[in-house]
């Protein structure tokens, strides 16, 4: 069975379960809303150059103005359009969140499978490594790397978030693999002449896939919050208009208590989008682990 077919039947089977979770549906709705906004992001700059989120400045405005017809969400301290910045922020949040989560889940799954399947010294070594990364305070660690590097690019931030996020996934996948490798179908595969590689990739990996999806969903929230935090404290990528960066600009130009139209939307969006991924993640968790469902 091909992976696409597998995905299709699995979505069809589980959608009826997912639909029962009201929180999961709410999360999916919020997520869809922001995904729609992210798709709109390239439009403003096509309408007029002044709507470019980074370099577009309204020639008639040189300070922050409240919402108007021309600028539905107002402008920032130098007359840039806040709506187009907000839309660009949605795009960045999805890009950062999903990329970081996918990378860290891939690393975590690979390490978890290897660790659980081979056991012994490999397992001990990999799990000690996981323990160390697990107690590492994430944000201070990224900050100290920023100090050593001097300046951060958005892809370095994504990579660092991913490199800090894998141990949780690895532990769970390892535990799952430990139990899976004792099942008869693994034995059957081995008797049929399958090597380690084949067993890992074709027999074990598909069975941990649901867990992988769950952790990816949960990981997106964390990644979005971390990137926003870094931008907010002034250590983000200055060439990228993210929601955290919008807040940082408001903060450093002294608009914190003066411009609610500027301060409220980005913070609310960061919180809601990260909430939505959590809600979806929890609904997936209830599908995977029936013990969590309400009796």
């Amino acid at each position: 069975m091909g992976i696409i077919e597998y995905a299709r039947t699995s979505i069809k089977e589980n959608w009826s379960l997912f639909r029962r979770s009201r929180m999961g549906l709410l999360g999916l709705a919020i997520l869809a809303f922001f995904a729609f906004l992210a798709l709109l992001a390239p439009i403003p700059r096509l309408i007029d150059d002044m709507y470019h989120p980074m370099v577009g400045v309204d020639p008639e405005i040189s300070y922050s103005t409240p919402p108007s017809l021309r600028h539905p969400m107002g402008t920032d301290f130098m007359g840039r359009d806040l709506l187009s910045q907000f839309l660009s922020g949605a795009q960045i949040a999805f890009a950062v969140g999903i990329t970081a989560a996918v990378i860290s889940v891939l690393i975590g799954t690979a390490i978890g499978l290897t660790s659980g399947y081979y056991g012994g010294k490999v397992d001990a070594l990999l799990m000690r490594l996981a323990d160390i990364v697990l107690v590492l305070p994430g944000l201070p660690f990224i900050i100290v790397i920023a100090a050593a590097l001097g300046k951060m690019s958005i892809w370095i931030i994504v990579l660092l978030i991913a490199l800090l996020g894998w141990p949780g996934v690895a532990r769970v996948i390892r535990a799952q693999t430990l139990s899976l490798r004792e099942r008869p179908f693994v034995e059957a595969a081995r008797v049929a002449g399958a090597g380690d590689r084949r067993i890992l990739l074709h027999h074990l990996a598909p069975n941990v896939l649901p867990l992988t999806f769950l952790y990816a969903a949960l990981g997106v929230s964390g990644a979005i919050l971390t990137e926003a935090s870094l931008s907010f404290i002034g250590l983000g990528d200055p060439s990228v208009v993210s929601w955290g960066m919008m807040l940082q600009w408001a903060f450093t130009t002294g608009h914190t208590f003066r411009a609610p139209y500027w301060i409220l939307p980005p913070g609310l969006a960061i919180s809601l989008l990260s909430l939505s991924f959590y809600l979806v993640g929890r609904a997936l968790e209830e599908i995977i682990n029936p013990r969590l469902r309400e009796p």
Binding site: V135, L136, L139, A147, A148, S271
Partner: protein
């Protein structure tokens, strides 16, 4: 139990050593002259050469590391470029402030999370449970620095109930004449809002963890037995279920400590709380490498120490622990 703790202490010491080594390597493999990372760029070249020799920067990297470790153990962390003072002094001033904020937030949020988590799990499926679970998720995913700003806006700026930031009112402390009680109250007044924000964040996580741990425990046969014996609901909930649900919760919470510390850094920054978290951010923004390194090492040390405390609590709670 002692062997278990000894094992954990050893593990924590190794982790700490590896972290320090990592920071050391990080700051020396960076592009450019490694000396520029430890030496103040404003220094005259002769002084730089002298300092280089003193710091052992002309020696091979492994002996540099030995010198670095030796200095660290002697409390010599270099000089802060920004403050022009020994890094050690700056760190020691900030450390208690961070510990005050971090430990009080952790203790309150664990306590509250335990008490509420067991109640909402017990009343599963009710409106009370749905509302609190949703609230927990809301606080867990809220963007903390932004939430902090909103709190300052409402409670400090608009209502004037709390100070805008900082830890003390300088006039009160320099003028003299204020009693010790007045000074303590002043700190508590400054502490209230950042503590509230940080507590809310870690409380939500603790409550959700306790909820799921309690739900697992409630499926156990001994709960059914306890009920069948005719024990009161409260006894079953508190003595039979919650006590056993506490164990996995402590393990999970210990792992969330590093997450809370990230929250602590943001809280300190937003509320200008003079702790290590605020210092690591401003040191990085000021290119003050020695201070940024040291602040990180000490923040990590706090998390590791808190982990050790969690281990001790765990060993105390679970007498089955033998290593």
């Amino acid at each position: 139990m002692y062997r278990y703790l000894l094992h954990r202490i050893l593990q924590i010491a190794i982790t700490m050593f590896l972290l320090i080594a990592m920071v050391f390597i990080l700051f020396r493999v960076m592009p450019g002259d490694p000396a520029s990372m430890v030496l103040d760029p404003k220094m005259p070249p002769e002084a730089k050469a002298l300092m280089k020799k003193q710091l052992g920067l002309d020696e091979p990297i492994y002996s540099q590391f030995i010198i670095y470790m030796k200095n660290l153990l002697h409390g010599d962390l270099g000089r802060s470029f920004y403050y022009g003072r020994p890094v050690y002094d700056v760190i020691m001033e900030r450390l208690p402030n961070t510990i005050l904020l971090f430990t009080s937030a952790t203790i309150i949020s664990w306590g509250l999370g335990y008490a509420l988590g067991k109640r909402i799990a017990w009343r599963r499926g009710t409106r009370f449970e749905h509302a609190l679970t949703f609230m927990g998720l809301l606080f867990y995913s809220v963007f903390l620095p932004w939430f902090g700003l909103i709190m300052i806006w409402i409670f400090s700026y608009r209502l004037g109930l709390f100070p805008l930031g900082g830890m003390i009112t300088p006039e009160l402390w320099t003028a003299g004449g204020a009693g010790i009680i007045a000074l303590v109250l002043d700190v508590l007044h400054h502490l209230a809002l950042p503590l509230f924000v940080l507590t809310l964040l870690s409380f939500a996580g603790a409550m959700l963890l306790m909820r799921s741990s309690m739900l697992e425990t409630l499926r156990e046969d001994y709960i059914l037995t306890a009920r069948a014996k005719g024990l009161s609901e409260k006894v079953v909930r508190d003595k039979h279920a919650a006590r056993n649900a506490l164990l996995p919760m402590v393990t999970a919470l210990a792992l969330s400590l590093s997450f809370s510390m990230s929250g602590g850094v943001l809280t300190e920054t937003v509320f200008s709380w003079p702790g290590l978290g605020k210092e690591i951010v401003s040191a990085t923004l000021n290119y003050d490498y020695p201070l940024a390194q040291a602040a990180f090492i000490f923040l990590a040390a706090i998390v590791l120490m808190a982990n050790l405390v969690a281990d001790i609590i765990y060993a105390y709670l679970d007498p089955r622990i033998r290593y």
